[in-house]
């Protein structure tokens, strides 16, 4: 059982380019999340999805979009990357809102130049 997979593992991207970070879970969890981790700031929620077909904004959603076409996949898109989006991105999932222990993927290290 893989749990949560993220791709790519790392990426260097030119500013202005479009980028999609992929996240797939095989636990049939209803809820999925995207966080970014920055030194000294901890993890901050970007977007979330409580169930397939629905999404919501977290603490730092600007410059990012998500979609949840099915239970397993929750891609995060940067439409036009900027250097301030340089970060480590973690995808997470949980069985549901009331069972909100979250399981984290291995992360994607993104550098925007």
């Amino acid at each position: 059982i893989a749990g949560i997979t993220q791709a790519p593992t790392s990426q260097i991207l030119a500013a202005g380019r479009r980028m999609t970070l992929r996240c797939t879970q095989d636990m049939r969890h209803n809820a999925m999340y995207w966080y970014r981790q920055d030194l000294g700031l901890g993890l901050r929620l970007i977007h979330y999805s409580n169930t397939a077909g629905t999404t919501g904004k977290g603490e730092v959603p600007d410059g990012y979009s998500v979609s949840r076409a099915n239970t397993d996949d929750f891609p995060l898109t940067l439409a036009s990357a900027v250097p301030s989006q340089t970060s480590v991105y973690f995808c997470a999932s949980s069985p549901g809102q009331s069972l909100n222990e979250q399981f984290f993927g291995p992360g994607t290290r993104l550098t925007v130049l």
Binding site: A31, Y33, Y35, G40, L41, G42, L43, R44, L45, Y48, N50, G56, K57, G58, E59, F90, A92, Q97, N100, E101, Q102, F103, F104, G105, P106, G107
Partner: protein
Amino acid sequence: AQSVSQHNHHVILSEAASLELGCNYSYGGTVNLFWYVQYPGQHLQLLLKYFSGDPLVKGIKGFEAEFIKSKFSFNLRKPSVQWSDTAEYFCAVYPYGGGADGLTFGKGTHLIIQP
């Protein structure tokens, strides 16, 4: 909006020392509380969690935490640390009815255990 404060950003201890990492949150309603650990180069792993019941919860690797509702605190403890405990530790809160779903994390405590 709710917030989580971790008082110690960097902690350096010797092996076998006792550990206590502070965590306070700012939400007055019902909460679920978590401690996650991130070993160097790895993703976050759950150490322990509090949902309800006994406020003293025990987690993996000898860690425990105590929920004190009157102090809005959820401090992490371990009686005797090991070199392998070197990691980043994050306290997190899920506030029921508190807004956007997802966890609110503290900024983390970088723990270094010296042999």
